[in-house]
Amino acid sequence: MTIERDARLREVQSWGDFFRFAIEAPAAGREARPGQFVMIKVSEGTSPLLRRPLGVHAADPDGLDLFFKVAGKGTGILSRKKPGDRIDLIGPLGRGFTVSATAKGRTAFLVGGGRGIAPLYFLALELVKTGARPVVLYGGRSLSEIPLRERFERTGLEPRCSTDDGSFGFAGPVTELAALELDRERPAMIYACGPDPMMKALAAIAAKRGVPTELSLESVMGCGVGACWGCVHRIRDEKGDGWVKICEEGPVFPGERVSWA
Protein backbone atom coordinates (compact mmCIF):
# COMPACT_ATOMS: atom_id res chain seq x y z
CA MET A 1 0.00 0.00 0.00
CA THR A 2 1.19 3.49 -0.76
CA ILE A 3 0.28 7.08 -0.07
CA GLU A 4 -0.50 8.83 -3.35
CA ARG A 5 -0.73 12.51 -2.47
CA ASP A 6 -1.30 13.62 -6.02
CA ALA A 7 -3.11 11.00 -7.94
CA ARG A 8 -5.14 12.61 -10.75
CA LEU A 9 -8.84 12.36 -11.41
CA ARG A 10 -8.99 11.30 -15.08
CA GLU A 11 -12.66 10.78 -15.76
CA VAL A 12 -15.98 11.30 -14.01
CA GLN A 13 -19.24 9.53 -14.81
CA SER A 14 -22.38 10.18 -12.80
CA TRP A 15 -25.95 8.99 -12.38
CA GLY A 16 -27.82 11.19 -9.92
CA ASP A 17 -26.16 10.60 -6.54
CA PHE A 18 -23.86 7.91 -7.92
CA PHE A 19 -20.41 8.63 -9.30
CA ARG A 20 -17.66 6.69 -11.00
CA PHE A 21 -14.18 8.20 -10.81
CA ALA A 22 -11.31 6.97 -12.97
CA ILE A 23 -8.12 7.89 -11.13
CA GLU A 24 -4.55 7.89 -12.38
CA ALA A 25 -2.59 6.11 -9.62
CA PRO A 26 -0.26 3.51 -11.13
CA ALA A 27 1.26 2.09 -7.94
CA ALA A 28 -2.12 1.58 -6.29
CA GLY A 29 -3.65 0.34 -9.53
CA ARG A 30 -1.05 -2.35 -10.00
CA GLU A 31 -1.32 -3.60 -6.43
CA ALA A 32 -5.09 -3.53 -5.91
CA ARG A 33 -7.08 -6.76 -5.52
CA PRO A 34 -10.89 -7.08 -5.51
CA GLY A 35 -12.43 -6.21 -2.14
CA GLN A 36 -9.60 -3.95 -1.08
CA PHE A 37 -10.25 -0.27 -0.45
CA VAL A 38 -8.55 3.12 -0.44
CA MET A 39 -8.73 6.00 2.05
CA ILE A 40 -9.39 9.36 0.45
CA LYS A 41 -8.77 12.84 1.85
CA VAL A 42 -11.65 14.82 0.40
CA SER A 43 -10.76 18.25 1.79
CA GLU A 44 -7.55 20.17 2.40
CA GLY A 45 -8.97 21.73 5.51
CA THR A 46 -9.82 20.14 8.85
CA SER A 47 -13.49 19.46 8.21
CA PRO A 48 -14.14 16.79 7.37
CA LEU A 49 -11.02 15.80 9.23
CA LEU A 50 -10.79 12.11 8.41
CA ARG A 51 -10.26 10.24 5.16
CA ARG A 52 -13.14 8.30 3.68
CA PRO A 53 -12.93 4.62 2.77
CA LEU A 54 -14.00 3.63 -0.74
CA GLY A 55 -13.72 0.22 -2.32
CA VAL A 56 -11.66 -0.40 -5.43
CA HIS A 57 -14.20 -0.63 -8.23
CA ALA A 58 -11.72 -1.53 -10.97
CA ALA A 59 -7.96 -1.42 -11.37
CA ASP A 60 -5.28 -1.57 -14.03
CA PRO A 61 -1.61 -0.55 -14.27
CA ASP A 62 -2.61 3.09 -14.87
CA GLY A 63 -4.75 3.43 -11.80
CA LEU A 64 -8.11 2.55 -10.36
CA ASP A 65 -11.80 3.30 -10.50
CA LEU A 66 -14.06 4.22 -7.62
CA PHE A 67 -17.82 3.97 -7.60
CA PHE A 68 -19.61 5.77 -4.83
CA LYS A 69 -22.89 7.20 -3.69
CA VAL A 70 -23.10 10.59 -2.04
CA ALA A 71 -23.91 9.72 1.56
CA GLY A 72 -22.99 12.95 3.30
CA LYS A 73 -20.42 15.68 3.62
CA GLY A 74 -17.28 13.87 2.53
CA THR A 75 -18.65 12.03 -0.47
CA GLY A 76 -20.48 15.24 -1.34
CA ILE A 77 -17.24 17.21 -1.52
CA LEU A 78 -15.59 14.37 -3.44
CA SER A 79 -18.43 14.31 -5.96
CA ARG A 80 -17.74 17.93 -6.90
CA LYS A 81 -14.19 17.21 -8.04
CA LYS A 82 -13.46 17.62 -11.73
CA PRO A 83 -11.20 15.76 -14.15
CA GLY A 84 -7.64 16.96 -13.61
CA ASP A 85 -8.15 17.61 -9.91
CA ARG A 86 -5.74 16.16 -7.39
CA ILE A 87 -6.83 13.11 -5.40
CA ASP A 88 -5.03 12.26 -2.15
CA LEU A 89 -5.39 8.56 -1.43
CA ILE A 90 -3.85 5.75 0.60
CA GLY A 91 -4.15 2.20 -0.59
CA PRO A 92 -4.91 -0.41 -1.56
CA LEU A 93 -5.78 -1.46 1.99
CA GLY A 94 -7.26 -4.48 3.74
CA ARG A 95 -7.88 -8.07 2.70
CA GLY A 96 -10.16 -8.58 -0.26
CA PHE A 97 -12.19 -11.45 -1.69
CA THR A 98 -10.61 -14.87 -2.28
CA VAL A 99 -10.85 -15.08 -6.05
CA SER A 100 -9.28 -18.55 -5.97
CA ALA A 101 -12.14 -19.82 -3.80
CA THR A 102 -14.12 -20.32 -6.99
CA ALA A 103 -12.47 -22.93 -9.13
CA LYS A 104 -12.19 -22.74 -12.92
CA GLY A 105 -15.53 -23.46 -14.56
CA ARG A 106 -17.47 -23.13 -11.31
CA THR A 107 -20.16 -20.56 -10.67
CA ALA A 108 -19.98 -17.78 -8.07
CA PHE A 109 -22.80 -15.48 -6.97
CA LEU A 110 -21.86 -11.84 -6.53
CA VAL A 111 -24.57 -10.12 -4.51
CA GLY A 112 -24.47 -6.34 -4.30
CA GLY A 113 -26.88 -3.97 -2.59
CA GLY A 114 -26.84 -0.30 -3.56
CA ARG A 115 -23.34 1.21 -3.39
CA GLY A 116 -22.18 -2.23 -2.26
CA ILE A 117 -21.96 -3.21 -5.90
CA ALA A 118 -18.75 -1.16 -6.20
CA PRO A 119 -16.12 -3.85 -5.43
CA LEU A 120 -18.08 -6.65 -7.10
CA TYR A 121 -17.46 -5.28 -10.59
CA PHE A 122 -13.70 -5.60 -10.06
CA LEU A 123 -14.23 -9.08 -8.57
CA ALA A 124 -16.37 -10.22 -11.50
CA LEU A 125 -13.69 -9.23 -14.02
CA GLU A 126 -11.04 -11.11 -12.04
CA LEU A 127 -13.22 -14.21 -11.76
CA VAL A 128 -13.76 -14.20 -15.51
CA LYS A 129 -9.97 -14.07 -15.99
CA THR A 130 -9.55 -17.20 -13.87
CA GLY A 131 -12.19 -18.99 -15.91
CA ALA A 132 -14.80 -18.97 -13.19
CA ARG A 133 -18.43 -18.01 -13.94
CA PRO A 134 -19.63 -14.96 -11.98
CA VAL A 135 -23.38 -14.46 -11.65
CA VAL A 136 -24.10 -10.90 -10.55
CA LEU A 137 -27.19 -10.19 -8.44
CA TYR A 138 -27.65 -6.44 -8.18
CA GLY A 139 -30.29 -4.84 -5.99
CA GLY A 140 -31.38 -1.32 -5.20
CA ARG A 141 -34.34 0.66 -3.94
CA SER A 142 -35.44 1.51 -7.45
CA LEU A 143 -34.25 1.63 -11.05
CA SER A 144 -32.29 4.83 -10.40
CA GLU A 145 -30.35 3.08 -7.64
CA ILE A 146 -28.82 0.37 -9.86
CA PRO A 147 -26.93 2.53 -12.36
CA LEU A 148 -24.07 0.07 -12.96
CA ARG A 149 -26.31 -2.27 -14.95
CA GLU A 150 -25.04 -1.15 -18.37
CA ARG A 151 -21.41 -1.21 -17.25
CA PHE A 152 -21.78 -4.89 -16.34
CA GLU A 153 -23.64 -5.62 -19.57
CA ARG A 154 -20.92 -4.05 -21.64
CA THR A 155 -18.50 -6.60 -20.20
CA GLY A 156 -20.83 -9.43 -21.22
CA LEU A 157 -22.00 -10.03 -17.69
CA GLU A 158 -25.79 -10.01 -17.45
CA PRO A 159 -26.59 -8.83 -13.91
CA ARG A 160 -29.86 -10.12 -12.48
CA CYS A 161 -31.43 -7.08 -10.91
CA SER A 162 -33.92 -6.43 -8.15
CA THR A 163 -35.60 -3.26 -6.95
CA ASP A 164 -37.51 -2.82 -3.72
CA ASP A 165 -40.21 -0.83 -5.52
CA GLY A 166 -40.38 -3.23 -8.48
CA SER A 167 -39.48 -0.49 -10.93
CA PHE A 168 -37.01 -2.88 -12.58
CA GLY A 169 -36.25 -6.60 -12.48
CA PHE A 170 -37.26 -8.72 -9.53
CA ALA A 171 -39.56 -6.86 -7.12
CA GLY A 172 -38.14 -7.22 -3.64
CA PRO A 173 -34.88 -7.27 -1.74
CA VAL A 174 -31.84 -8.69 -3.52
CA THR A 175 -31.60 -11.30 -0.75
CA GLU A 176 -34.92 -12.81 -1.89
CA LEU A 177 -33.69 -12.83 -5.47
CA ALA A 178 -30.57 -14.61 -4.23
CA ALA A 179 -32.71 -17.20 -2.43
CA LEU A 180 -34.64 -17.91 -5.65
CA GLU A 181 -31.46 -18.19 -7.70
CA LEU A 182 -30.00 -20.52 -5.09
CA ASP A 183 -32.96 -22.85 -5.53
CA ARG A 184 -32.11 -23.07 -9.24
CA GLU A 185 -28.37 -23.31 -9.00
CA ARG A 186 -25.79 -24.01 -6.31
CA PRO A 187 -22.73 -21.79 -6.65
CA ALA A 188 -19.27 -22.64 -5.31
CA MET A 189 -19.24 -19.35 -3.45
CA ILE A 190 -21.29 -16.27 -2.65
CA TYR A 191 -19.43 -12.98 -2.51
CA ALA A 192 -21.47 -10.06 -1.15
CA CYS A 193 -21.28 -6.38 -0.26
CA GLY A 194 -24.07 -4.20 1.01
CA PRO A 195 -25.80 -2.79 4.09
CA ASP A 196 -25.61 -4.86 7.30
CA PRO A 197 -29.25 -6.06 7.27
CA MET A 198 -28.81 -7.43 3.75
CA MET A 199 -25.54 -9.15 4.66
CA LYS A 200 -27.08 -10.67 7.74
CA ALA A 201 -30.08 -12.03 5.83
CA LEU A 202 -27.90 -13.32 3.02
CA ALA A 203 -25.54 -15.06 5.44
CA ALA A 204 -28.51 -16.90 6.94
CA ILE A 205 -29.90 -17.90 3.54
CA ALA A 206 -26.50 -19.19 2.38
CA ALA A 207 -25.81 -21.00 5.63
CA LYS A 208 -29.15 -22.82 5.42
CA ARG A 209 -28.09 -24.16 2.03
CA GLY A 210 -24.50 -24.79 3.04
CA VAL A 211 -23.05 -22.39 0.51
CA PRO A 212 -19.87 -20.62 1.65
CA THR A 213 -19.88 -16.82 1.63
CA GLU A 214 -17.45 -13.93 1.74
CA LEU A 215 -18.93 -10.68 3.04
CA SER A 216 -17.40 -7.22 2.71
CA LEU A 217 -18.29 -5.28 5.86
CA GLU A 218 -18.62 -1.56 6.41
CA SER A 219 -17.88 0.64 9.37
CA VAL A 220 -16.86 4.17 10.12
CA MET A 221 -13.08 4.20 9.76
CA GLY A 222 -10.72 6.52 11.57
CA CYS A 223 -7.52 5.54 9.86
CA GLY A 224 -7.90 2.51 7.57
CA VAL A 225 -4.47 1.22 8.61
CA GLY A 226 -5.22 -0.63 11.84
CA ALA A 227 -4.17 2.13 14.20
CA CYS A 228 -7.35 3.57 15.71
CA TRP A 229 -9.31 0.41 16.54
CA GLY A 230 -12.45 2.31 15.53
CA CYS A 231 -13.66 0.02 12.76
CA VAL A 232 -14.36 -3.15 14.70
CA HIS A 233 -17.02 -5.73 13.97
CA ARG A 234 -17.94 -8.81 15.99
CA ILE A 235 -15.96 -11.68 14.44
CA ARG A 236 -15.59 -15.32 15.50
CA ASP A 237 -12.36 -17.28 15.56
CA GLU A 238 -11.07 -20.39 17.32
CA LYS A 239 -11.00 -18.52 20.62
CA GLY A 240 -14.57 -17.27 20.23
CA ASP A 241 -16.08 -13.83 19.55
CA GLY A 242 -14.16 -10.57 19.63
CA TRP A 243 -14.03 -7.05 18.23
CA VAL A 244 -11.88 -7.29 15.10
CA LYS A 245 -10.56 -4.39 13.04
CA ILE A 246 -12.18 -4.71 9.63
CA CYS A 247 -9.67 -2.41 7.95
CA GLU A 248 -6.90 -4.85 8.80
CA GLU A 249 -8.33 -8.39 8.89
CA GLY A 250 -11.16 -7.38 6.55
CA PRO A 251 -13.16 -5.74 5.12
CA VAL A 252 -13.94 -9.17 3.64
CA PHE A 253 -14.70 -12.03 6.04
CA PRO A 254 -16.03 -15.57 5.59
CA GLY A 255 -19.75 -15.36 6.41
CA GLU A 256 -19.49 -18.00 9.12
CA ARG A 257 -17.00 -15.84 11.04
CA VAL A 258 -19.25 -12.81 11.20
CA SER A 259 -21.53 -12.53 14.23
CA TRP A 260 -24.53 -10.29 13.94
CA ALA A 261 -25.96 -8.29 16.83
Binding site: K41, T46, P48, L50, S219, C228, G230
Partner: protein
Protein backbone atom coordinates in the same frame (compact mmCIF):
# COMPACT_ATOMS: atom_id res chain seq x y z
CA UNK B 1 23.90 19.23 4.54
CA UNK B 2 21.72 17.67 1.88
CA UNK B 3 18.20 17.61 3.27
CA UNK B 4 16.68 20.99 4.05
CA UNK B 5 16.83 21.52 7.78
CA UNK B 6 19.35 18.70 8.22
CA UNK B 7 21.76 21.16 9.84
CA UNK B 8 19.45 21.93 12.73
CA UNK B 9 20.06 20.25 16.09
CA UNK B 10 16.75 18.63 16.99
CA UNK B 11 17.99 16.57 19.94
CA UNK B 12 15.80 16.91 22.98
CA UNK B 13 16.87 16.12 26.53
CA UNK B 14 14.08 15.38 28.99
CA UNK B 15 16.67 14.82 31.70
CA UNK B 16 15.74 11.20 32.24
CA UNK B 17 15.59 10.53 28.50
CA UNK B 18 17.41 11.88 25.43
CA UNK B 19 15.40 11.97 22.22
CA UNK B 20 16.54 12.28 18.60
CA UNK B 21 13.96 15.02 18.17
CA UNK B 22 11.02 16.38 20.16
CA UNK B 23 8.34 14.54 18.20
CA UNK B 24 6.63 11.51 19.76
CA UNK B 25 3.51 9.71 18.62
CA UNK B 26 0.48 9.97 20.92
CA UNK B 27 -0.81 6.85 22.60
CA UNK B 28 -3.75 5.14 20.94
CA UNK B 29 -3.22 6.97 17.68
CA UNK B 30 -0.19 5.02 16.49
CA UNK B 31 -1.14 1.48 17.39
CA UNK B 32 1.92 -0.42 18.60
CA UNK B 33 4.05 1.47 16.08
CA UNK B 34 4.57 -1.43 13.72
CA UNK B 35 1.31 -0.72 11.87
CA UNK B 36 3.02 2.39 10.50
CA UNK B 37 6.23 0.86 9.15
CA UNK B 38 4.86 0.84 5.61
CA UNK B 39 4.37 4.61 5.77
CA UNK B 40 7.36 6.10 7.53
CA UNK B 41 10.79 5.29 8.90
CA UNK B 42 10.04 4.90 12.61
CA UNK B 43 13.66 5.61 13.49
CA UNK B 44 13.15 9.20 12.30
CA UNK B 45 10.80 9.84 15.21
CA UNK B 46 11.80 11.08 18.64
CA UNK B 47 9.87 8.20 20.08
CA UNK B 48 6.75 6.08 19.99
CA UNK B 49 4.15 6.02 22.75
CA UNK B 50 2.27 2.78 22.25
CA UNK B 51 -1.40 2.17 22.75
CA UNK B 52 -2.63 2.07 26.33
CA UNK B 53 -1.96 -1.24 28.08
CA UNK B 54 -3.96 -2.83 30.86
CA UNK B 55 -2.62 -5.91 32.60
CA UNK B 56 -4.90 -8.32 30.84
CA UNK B 57 -6.30 -8.24 27.32
CA UNK B 58 -9.36 -5.98 26.98
CA UNK B 59 -12.43 -6.18 24.80
CA UNK B 60 -12.98 -2.46 24.51
CA UNK B 61 -16.35 -0.84 23.84
CA UNK B 62 -18.88 -1.94 21.22
CA UNK B 63 -19.09 0.13 18.02
CA UNK B 64 -19.75 2.82 16.97
CA UNK B 65 -16.53 3.89 18.61
CA UNK B 66 -15.75 6.96 16.52
CA UNK B 67 -17.63 10.02 15.38
CA UNK B 68 -16.30 12.96 13.50
CA UNK B 69 -17.11 16.50 14.62
CA UNK B 70 -16.16 19.96 13.35
CA UNK B 71 -12.35 19.77 13.05
CA UNK B 72 -12.41 17.00 15.62
CA UNK B 73 -12.92 13.34 16.39
CA UNK B 74 -14.69 11.76 19.35
CA UNK B 75 -13.51 8.28 20.26
CA UNK B 76 -14.68 5.72 22.74
CA UNK B 77 -12.44 2.78 21.93
CA UNK B 78 -12.40 1.72 25.56
CA UNK B 79 -8.77 0.75 25.43
CA UNK B 80 -9.17 -2.54 23.62
CA UNK B 81 -5.77 -4.15 23.79
CA UNK B 82 -3.69 -7.30 24.03
CA UNK B 83 -2.51 -6.97 27.64
CA UNK B 84 1.03 -6.96 29.00
CA UNK B 85 1.88 -10.59 28.37
CA UNK B 86 1.05 -10.59 24.68
CA UNK B 87 2.68 -7.17 24.38
CA UNK B 88 5.92 -8.39 25.94
CA UNK B 89 5.87 -11.62 23.97
CA UNK B 90 4.75 -10.45 20.50
CA UNK B 91 5.17 -6.67 20.18
CA UNK B 92 8.18 -5.67 22.29
CA UNK B 93 10.64 -7.98 20.53
CA UNK B 94 9.70 -6.47 17.18
CA UNK B 95 10.11 -2.94 18.53
CA UNK B 96 13.65 -3.79 19.63
CA UNK B 97 14.93 -3.61 16.07
CA UNK B 98 13.63 -0.06 15.67
CA UNK B 99 16.05 2.61 16.78
CA UNK B 100 13.67 4.94 18.60
CA UNK B 101 12.51 5.48 22.17
CA UNK B 102 9.59 3.21 23.08
CA UNK B 103 7.29 4.59 25.75
CA UNK B 104 4.49 2.41 27.11
CA UNK B 105 1.17 4.04 27.98
CA UNK B 106 0.10 2.39 31.24
CA UNK B 107 -3.55 1.95 32.21
CA UNK B 108 -5.42 0.36 35.08
CA UNK B 109 -8.90 -0.15 36.50
CA UNK B 110 -7.41 0.73 39.91
CA UNK B 111 -4.03 1.64 41.39
CA UNK B 112 -3.14 -2.03 41.84
CA UNK B 113 -3.54 -2.76 38.16
CA UNK B 114 -1.37 0.23 37.19
CA UNK B 115 1.29 -1.09 39.56
CA UNK B 116 0.97 -4.62 38.23
CA UNK B 117 1.50 -3.38 34.67
CA UNK B 118 4.73 -1.53 35.46
CA UNK B 119 6.01 -4.35 37.68
CA UNK B 120 5.47 -6.80 34.85
CA UNK B 121 7.02 -4.55 32.22
CA UNK B 122 9.97 -3.70 34.49
CA UNK B 123 11.09 -7.27 33.92
CA UNK B 124 11.41 -6.63 30.18
CA UNK B 125 13.91 -4.56 28.24
CA UNK B 126 13.44 -2.10 25.43
CA UNK B 127 11.18 0.38 27.20
CA UNK B 128 12.47 3.94 27.68
CA UNK B 129 9.75 5.18 30.02
CA UNK B 130 6.17 4.74 31.12
CA UNK B 131 3.43 7.21 30.30
CA UNK B 132 0.87 6.91 33.06
CA UNK B 133 -2.56 7.26 31.50
CA UNK B 134 -4.50 8.51 34.50
CA UNK B 135 -6.82 10.44 32.23
CA UNK B 136 -8.71 8.12 29.88
CA UNK B 137 -12.32 9.35 29.77
CA UNK B 138 -13.70 6.26 28.06
CA UNK B 139 -13.73 3.55 30.64
CA UNK B 140 -15.70 4.79 33.65
CA UNK B 141 -19.02 6.61 34.06
CA UNK B 142 -18.94 10.36 33.29
CA UNK B 143 -15.29 10.06 32.32
CA UNK B 144 -14.14 9.47 35.88
CA UNK B 145 -10.37 8.90 36.19
CA UNK B 146 -7.58 9.58 38.72
CA UNK B 147 -6.44 12.73 36.90
CA UNK B 148 -9.59 14.60 37.95
CA UNK B 149 -8.42 15.12 41.56
CA UNK B 150 -5.05 16.22 43.00
CA UNK B 151 -5.18 13.58 45.73
CA UNK B 152 -5.92 10.59 43.48
CA UNK B 153 -3.28 11.85 41.07
CA UNK B 154 -0.74 12.19 43.87
CA UNK B 155 -1.47 8.75 45.33
CA UNK B 156 -1.27 6.92 42.01
CA UNK B 157 1.89 8.65 40.79
CA UNK B 158 3.59 8.09 44.17
CA UNK B 159 2.65 4.41 44.05
CA UNK B 160 3.90 3.92 40.49
CA UNK B 161 7.15 5.82 41.06
CA UNK B 162 7.82 3.49 44.00
CA UNK B 163 6.87 0.40 42.00
CA UNK B 164 8.79 1.24 38.83
CA UNK B 165 12.48 1.21 37.91
CA UNK B 166 11.78 3.45 34.91
CA UNK B 167 11.01 7.13 34.45
CA UNK B 168 7.33 8.01 34.64
CA UNK B 169 5.53 10.55 32.46
CA UNK B 170 2.12 11.42 33.91
CA UNK B 171 -0.54 12.15 31.32
CA UNK B 172 -3.11 14.66 32.47
CA UNK B 173 -6.77 15.19 31.67
CA UNK B 174 -8.07 18.54 30.40
CA UNK B 175 -11.44 17.90 32.06
CA UNK B 176 -10.50 19.73 35.24
CA UNK B 177 -11.00 23.12 36.85
CA UNK B 178 -7.31 23.66 37.55
CA UNK B 179 -4.80 21.79 35.42
CA UNK B 180 -2.05 23.47 37.44
CA UNK B 181 -3.23 21.90 40.71
CA UNK B 182 -3.20 18.45 39.16
CA UNK B 183 0.19 19.02 37.52
CA UNK B 184 1.68 20.15 40.80
CA UNK B 185 0.23 17.13 42.62
CA UNK B 186 1.89 14.84 40.08
CA UNK B 187 5.15 16.74 40.45
CA UNK B 188 5.08 16.48 44.24
CA UNK B 189 4.49 12.75 43.91
CA UNK B 190 7.69 12.58 41.91
CA UNK B 191 6.64 12.26 38.29
CA UNK B 192 9.58 12.72 35.91
CA UNK B 193 7.52 14.58 33.33
CA UNK B 194 3.99 15.58 32.41
CA UNK B 195 2.10 14.97 29.17
CA UNK B 196 -0.98 17.03 28.35
CA UNK B 197 -3.61 16.95 27.14
CA UNK B 198 -5.71 13.83 26.88
CA UNK B 199 -9.13 14.14 25.22
CA UNK B 200 -12.01 16.40 26.26
CA UNK B 201 -15.08 14.51 27.45
CA UNK B 202 -17.62 14.95 24.69
CA UNK B 203 -20.82 13.67 23.11
CA UNK B 204 -22.54 13.51 19.76
CA UNK B 205 -26.24 12.91 19.16
CA UNK B 206 -27.84 11.21 16.18
CA UNK B 207 -30.88 13.38 15.60
CA UNK B 208 -32.77 10.83 13.52
CA UNK B 209 -32.48 7.94 15.95
CA UNK B 210 -32.37 10.25 18.99
CA UNK B 211 -29.52 8.22 20.39
CA UNK B 212 -25.91 8.99 21.24
CA UNK B 213 -23.71 8.42 18.18
CA UNK B 214 -21.28 6.45 20.33
CA UNK B 215 -22.32 3.18 21.93
CA UNK B 216 -20.41 4.38 25.01
CA UNK B 217 -22.57 7.58 25.08
CA UNK B 218 -19.58 9.85 25.91
CA UNK B 219 -16.15 9.80 24.34
CA UNK B 220 -12.98 11.82 24.09
CA UNK B 221 -12.65 14.77 21.71
CA UNK B 222 -9.33 15.13 19.89
CA UNK B 223 -7.95 16.89 16.84
CA UNK B 224 -7.50 20.50 15.71
CA UNK B 225 -10.70 21.54 17.52
CA UNK B 226 -8.99 21.13 20.92
CA UNK B 227 -5.63 22.68 20.10
CA UNK B 228 -6.46 26.09 21.63
CA UNK B 229 -7.40 24.43 24.95
CA UNK B 230 -4.27 22.25 24.88
CA UNK B 231 -1.99 25.22 24.19
CA UNK B 232 -3.53 27.17 27.04
CA UNK B 233 -3.05 24.30 29.50
CA UNK B 234 0.53 23.62 28.39
CA UNK B 235 1.32 27.30 28.84
CA UNK B 236 -0.33 27.41 32.27
CA UNK B 237 1.51 24.33 33.48
CA UNK B 238 4.95 24.82 31.91
CA UNK B 239 5.56 28.05 33.78
CA UNK B 240 4.52 26.52 37.11
CA UNK B 241 6.35 23.17 37.29
CA UNK B 242 10.03 22.22 37.11
CA UNK B 243 9.61 18.87 35.33
CA UNK B 244 9.49 18.85 31.53
CA UNK B 245 6.09 19.15 29.87
CA UNK B 246 5.17 17.18 26.75
CA UNK B 247 2.49 19.02 24.81
CA UNK B 248 -0.20 17.54 22.61
CA UNK B 249 -3.66 18.19 21.33
CA UNK B 250 -4.53 18.87 17.70
CA UNK B 251 -0.99 19.01 16.35
CA UNK B 252 -1.22 18.56 12.57
CA UNK B 253 1.92 20.35 11.38
CA UNK B 254 5.38 21.48 12.33
CA UNK B 255 4.00 24.97 12.96
CA UNK B 256 1.46 23.56 15.43
CA UNK B 257 4.23 21.63 17.18
CA UNK B 258 6.45 24.72 17.35
CA UNK B 259 3.62 26.70 18.94
CA UNK B 260 3.57 24.15 21.78
CA UNK B 261 7.35 24.36 22.14
CA UNK B 262 7.22 28.16 22.23
CA UNK B 263 4.46 27.93 24.86
CA UNK B 264 6.78 25.86 27.05
CA UNK B 265 6.59 22.22 25.97
CA UNK B 266 9.95 20.41 25.87
CA UNK B 267 8.54 17.87 23.40
CA UNK B 268 5.27 17.13 21.63
CA UNK B 269 3.10 14.19 20.65
CA UNK B 270 1.29 13.82 17.36
CA UNK B 271 -2.07 12.08 17.72
CA UNK B 272 -5.14 12.21 15.50
CA UNK B 273 -3.00 13.61 12.69
CA UNK B 274 -1.57 10.11 12.19
CA UNK B 275 -5.05 8.88 11.24
CA UNK B 276 -5.32 11.46 8.48
CA UNK B 277 -1.74 11.00 7.30
CA UNK B 278 0.07 7.91 8.55
CA UNK B 279 3.37 9.72 8.01
CA UNK B 280 2.25 12.89 9.82
CA UNK B 281 4.73 12.53 12.70
CA UNK B 282 7.71 12.31 10.33
CA UNK B 283 6.39 15.29 8.37
CA UNK B 284 6.15 17.28 11.60
CA UNK B 285 9.83 16.51 12.29
CA UNK B 286 10.80 17.77 8.82
CA UNK B 287 8.68 20.89 9.09
CA UNK B 288 10.17 21.75 12.48
CA UNK B 289 13.70 21.38 11.07
CA UNK B 290 12.89 23.49 8.01
CA UNK B 291 11.31 26.22 10.09
CA UNK B 292 14.32 26.37 12.40
CA UNK B 293 16.72 26.49 9.48
CA UNK B 294 14.79 29.24 7.69
CA UNK B 295 14.82 31.33 10.90
CA UNK B 296 18.46 30.62 11.69
CA UNK B 297 17.57 28.65 14.81
CA UNK B 298 20.52 26.32 15.39
CA UNK B 299 18.86 24.03 17.94
CA UNK B 300 15.17 23.41 18.45
CA UNK B 301 15.67 23.48 22.24
CA UNK B 302 16.37 27.21 21.88
CA UNK B 303 12.71 27.67 20.95
CA UNK B 304 11.27 25.99 24.05
CA UNK B 305 9.45 28.37 26.37
CA UNK B 306 10.44 31.48 24.43
CA UNK B 307 6.94 32.92 24.44
CA UNK B 308 6.91 36.61 25.29
CA UNK B 309 4.01 37.92 27.29
CA UNK B 310 3.86 41.65 26.45
Amino acid sequence: MGVKGAGVDLTTDLGFLKLRNPVLTASGTFGYGLEFEPYLDLSRLGGIVVKGLYYGPREGNPPPRLVETASGLINAIGLQGVGVEAFAAKVLPQLHRIDTAVIVNVCGADDDEYAAVVEFLDRHEGIAAYELNISCPNVKKDGACPALRPQTTYDLVKRIKAASRRPVITKLSPNVTSIVEIAQAAEEAGTDALALINTLLAMAVDLETRRPKLANVYGGLSGPAIKPVALRMVHQVASRVRVPVIGLGGIMSGADALEFLVAGAAAVEVGTASFVDPDAAARVVDEIARWCEARGVAAVRDVVGTIEIP
